[in-house]
C-alpha cells in the first residue's frame, strides 16, 4: 500500500483527521527545508506538502509568492527539491510527501525523468495546480505506472460532472479548495465547505483534504468534521517569513502552531 493510503487508513482506524502542512522548499534557505520537515512531523503532521518554487505562482496569494521569491533568490529548483525528499527519507520512511507547485518546472525536466527521479527520492504524490485532469491525459501514465499519486484540486465552482471525472482521475486524496480565491485568503465559510463536501462525497471515494483559509486550530477543527484532512500553508509560511533570519526560532514557532492544530483536531 502507498504511504498516502496507509496514512489515511491508519488515521481513519484511530478516528483521527490528517494534518497536512505546506512549506515552500528552499524558503528561506535550502538547508532549512529538511530539518523543518522533520519538525513538522514531530509537531503532529501526518503528510507534508512540499512546494516547488516557481517564478509565476498564479494561484497563490502574497505569502506564498514571497516564499517562492525567497527560495528563487538562491535558485532553489525542482532539481534541488527532489534530493531534499531523499534526504528526509533517510530518517522518515512513513510520512507521505506530496510535491505541490506549477507545471512548467516539471515540463522542463521532462515528465518521465521527473516521475522516475521523484519515485526514487521517495515522493508519494504530485499536485500541479495548473494541470487539470483534461490536460494530464497524455502524461498521467508516467505517474500512474510508478505509483505516484496524482492529486487534483476541486473548487467551489467545480461542476458535479467534473467532480466525478476528477474523482476517477485522481488518487491518494483530492484537495478541496475551500473558497474562490488564492492561498492565504481569510474568509473560509465552514457551512459552505460542508455543503460542498456533501456534493463531493457523492462522486469521490478517496479521502478529501481541505485547504485555503485555514490558519488556526479552531478553523482546522471545525473543517475537519466534514473532511479527511486539513491543509495549512500560508499560516506556516508566514511564521517562516517572520523568522527568516533564525531557523531555530522558525522551527519553534511553526512547531507550536502545528502542535496547537494537532491538539485542536484530536480534541
Amino acid at each position: 500500500m502507498s504511504r498516502i493510503k496507509t496514512a489515511f487508513a491508519t488515521l481513519e482506524a484511530a478516528g483521527k483527521k490528517a494534518l497536512i502542512p505546506y512549506i515552500t522548499a528552499g524558503d528561506p534557505q535550502k538547508e532549512a527545508t529538511v530539518p523543518m520537515m522533520h519538525a513538522l512531523v514531530a509537531a503532529g503532521a501526518d503528510l507534508i506538502e512540499l512546494g516547488v518554487p516557481f517564478s509565476d505562482p498564479m494561484a497563490d496569494g502574497p505569502t506564498i509568492q514571497l516564499a517562492c521569491e525567497r527560495a528563487l533568490a538562491h535558485n532553489t529548483s525542482l532539481r534541488d527539491v527532489l534530493p531534499m525528499v531523499a534526504e528526509f527519507r533517510k530518517t522518515d520512511n512513513n510520512t507521505p510527501v506530496v510535491l505541490m507547485g506549477y507545471l512548467n518546472p516539471v515540463e522542463r525536466m521532462g515528465y518521465e525523468a521527473f516521475a522516475e527521479t521523484a519515485v526514487a527520492a521517495g515522493v508519494d504524490g504530485v499536485l500541479m495546480v495548473d494541470l487539470p485532469p483534461e490536460e494530464a491525459v497524455d502524461v498521467a501514465d508516467f505517474f500512474k505506472t510508478r505509483d505516484l499519486d496524482m492529486i487534483y484540486l476541486i473548487a467551489p465552482t467545480t461542476t458535479d460532472a467534473r467532480i466525478e471525472a476528477i474523482g476517477k482521475a485522481g488518487s491518494g486524496y483530492v484537495y478541496y479548495v475551500s473558497l474562490k480565491g488564492v492561498t492565504g485568503s481569510k474568509a473560509l465559510d465552514v457551512d459552505d465547505v460542508a455543503r460542498n463536501l456533501d456534493r463531493i462525497r457523492k462522486h469521490v471515494s478517496i479521502p478529501v483534504g481541505v485547504g485555503f483559509g485555514i490558519s488556526n486550530g479552531e478553523t482546522a477543527a471545525a473543517v475537519s468534521k466534514v473532511c479527511d484532512g486539513v491543509i495549512v500553508g500560508s499560516a506556516i509560511v508566514n511564521l517562516i517569513a517572520t523568522n527568516a533570519e533564525d531557523s531555530a526560532a522558525a522551527q519553534q514557532a511553526v512547531s507550536a502552531l502545528v502542535n496547537s492544530m494537532r491538539t485542536a483536531l484530536d480534541a
Partner: protein, 404 residues
C-alpha cells in the same frame, strides 16, 4: 485550393489545442468560468445580433475599416518590393487593441457581467479596456506592473480619466507577466461577477481563439482592400509579435493560402545572442504559462525569465499558442528586430511618410524594410502598423537625449 492543403484546418480543437500548443492549464477554480465563456462564445460567434453589434461598433466607434496605405517613399528608400501599411494606428485609441476589447466587452454584456478586469504592459490594452468599459458602462480595473506604471505614466493617467482603477503590481519582475498573474488572482477571487478581458491571443482556451476571431477583421479587410487597391493579394505579410494578437489578426484569414508568406517579428532587444530580448519563438522552447502551452523564455529549471525590449508592449516571455503552431508547421516565419533597428524604423517612417509608429509596430516596419530590399519591385508586402507612436515620444526623446 488543393484538398490536401495542410493549412486549411479549423483550429483550435475542442479542447483549445493548436497542435501541441494552447489548451487550458489553469487552477480548478477558473475552469467553470472558462467553460461557460467557451459555451457562450460558441453560440454568439454565429449569432447575427451579436455580430451586428460588433460590426456596428467597429464601424462607428472604432472607425473601421482602417486604410491600407501605399508607403511610396519608404518603398523607394528600400528599393525593392512595395510596402503597404495596414493603418491600425488610426483606430480609436490608437491601436488594434480596441478591436478585441469591443468584442470582449460585448461578451461581458451578453453574459451579464458588470465588472471587467484587464492586464496591460505598455498600457494600450489597458486604455482600450478602460475605453470600452466607459462605452458600455462597466466597472474597470487594470493590472499593470509597477515598472510599467512608471514608464507609461501618460497611459496610466488616460485610464484614470476614463474611470478605470489602475492597480500597480509589485510582485516578480513588476512587468506584463506579473500583471497577468495578478489579474488571474483577482479573477479567481471575483469570478462570479467579473469578466477578464485578456489583451492578446494567449491565455487559457477560449481566449486565444476569441481574441484571434475579433482581431481577424484586420486580415479580412486586407484581403478585400488588396483586391480593390492592388488588384491582387500580397506576397508577404509582416507584423510584430509580443503576445501576437495584431499578427494573428492579420495572418489568420491567410493561413490557408501558403503562397502568401507570413513574417512575425519578435523583439530582438539588445540582440538574440544574449538574454536581453523578448523572442520566445526565436530562442525559447515550449512550456506552460498563463494557462497555455506555448514557446516561452525560461531558464534550465523552467523558471520564466525576465525579458527586455525597448517596447513595453512586446516585453513578454510567452506568445499566443497559434503562433507556436504556425512556427512548428513552418507556415509562418518568426524573426526579430533589435531595439536599434526598431528605433531606426521609427525615425524612417516618421520622416518619409509622416506616420509615427508605435515602438511595437516599428519592429514590423524594421523587418519589412529589410525584406523589401530582397524582393522584386513588383512584389507586395503588407505591414500591420498596429499602433501609433504618441505614447512612445518620451521614451524616444530620452534615448535621443531630448528633455522636455
Amino acid at each position: 485550393m488543393s484538398t490536401n492543403n495542410p493549412f486549411d484546418i479549423d483550429l483550435p480543437d475542442a479542447r483549445g489545442h493548436f497542435g501541441i500548443h494552447g489548451g487550458r492549464f489553469v487552477s480548478e477554480t477558473l475552469t467553470a468560468a472558462l467553460e461557460e465563456l467557451t459555451e457562450v462564445y460558441e453560440k454568439l460567434r454565429d449569432d447575427p445580433e451579436f455580430q451586428a453589434a460588433f460590426d456596428k461598433d467597429l464601424a462607428h466607434y472604432v472607425g473601421r475599416p482602417s486604410p491600407l496605405y501605399f508607403a511610396e517613399r519608404l518603398t523607394e528608400e528600400c528599393g525593392g518590393a512595395q510596402i503597404w501599411l495596414k493603418r491600425e494606428d488610426l483606430n480609436h485609441t490608437g491601436a488594434h487593441k480596441v478591436n478585441n476589447t469591443i468584442g470582449q466587452a460585448l461578451l461581458a454584456k451578453f453574459m451579464g457581467k458588470k465588472k471587467v478586469i484587464a492586464e496591460t504592459g505598455a498600457g494600450q490594452h489597458g486604455v482600450a479596456s478602460a475605453t470600452v468599459a466607459a462605452r458600455f458602462g462597466l466597472e474597470c480595473k487594470v493590472f499593470m506592473g509597477s515598472t510599467d506604471v512608471e514608464r507609461q505614466k501618460l497611459n496610466v493617467y488616460r485610464m484614470k480619466l476614463l474611470g478605470a482603477e489602475v492597480e500597480s503590481v509589485t510582485s516578480g519582475t513588476k512587468t506584463l507577466k506579473d500583471a497577468m498573474n495578478e489579474a488571474m488572482r483577482h479573477w479567481v477571487t471575483n469570478v462570479d461577477d467579473t469578466f477578464y478581458i485578456i489583451g492578446t491571443a494567449a491565455g487559457p482556451h477560449p481566449y486565444p481563439m476569441l481574441v484571434r476571431d475579433f482581431q481577424s477583421v484586420i486580415g479580412r479587410e486586407v484581403q478585400r482592400q488588396s483586391e480593390e487597391q492592388i488588384g491582387r493579394q500580397p506576397d508577404a505579410l509582416v507584423a510584430c509579435v509580443g503576445g501576437g494578437s495584431n499578427a494573428i489578426g492579420l495572418f489568420y484569414p491567410y493561413i490557408k493560402y501558403p503562397e502568401v508568406a507570413m513574417y512575425g517579428v519578435e523583439a530582438g532587444g539588445l540582440g538574440l545572442d544574449g538574454d536581453q530580448h523578448a523572442a520566445p519563438l526565436s530562442k525559447g522552447r515550449p512550456g506552460v504559462l498563463h494557462g497555455n502551452r506555448t514557446y516561452l523564455m525560461e531558464d534550465e529549471n523552467g523558471q520564466i525569465m525576465g525579458t527586455h525590449s525597448i517596447s513595453a508592449g512586446l516585453d513578454y516571455p510567452g506568445v499566443g499558442p497559434e503562433h507556436s503552431w504556425l512556427k512548428d508547421v513552418n507556415r509562418a516565419n518568426y524573426v526579430a528586430a533589435t531595439d536599434d533597428e526598431a528605433l531606426d524604423a521609427f525615425h524612417k517612417l516618421t520622416q518619409l511618410e509622416g506616420i509615427m509608429p508605435a515602438l511595437e509596430s516599428s519592429h514590423a516596419v524594421a523587418y519589412a524594410m529589410k525584406l523589401a530590399a530582397t524582393m522584386d519591385k513588383d512584389k507586395v508586402i503588407v505591414v500591420n502598423l498596429s499602433g501609433r507612436g504618441d505614447k512612445d515620444i518620451h521614451t524616444i526623446a530620452a534615448l535621443d537625449g531630448v528633455t522636455a
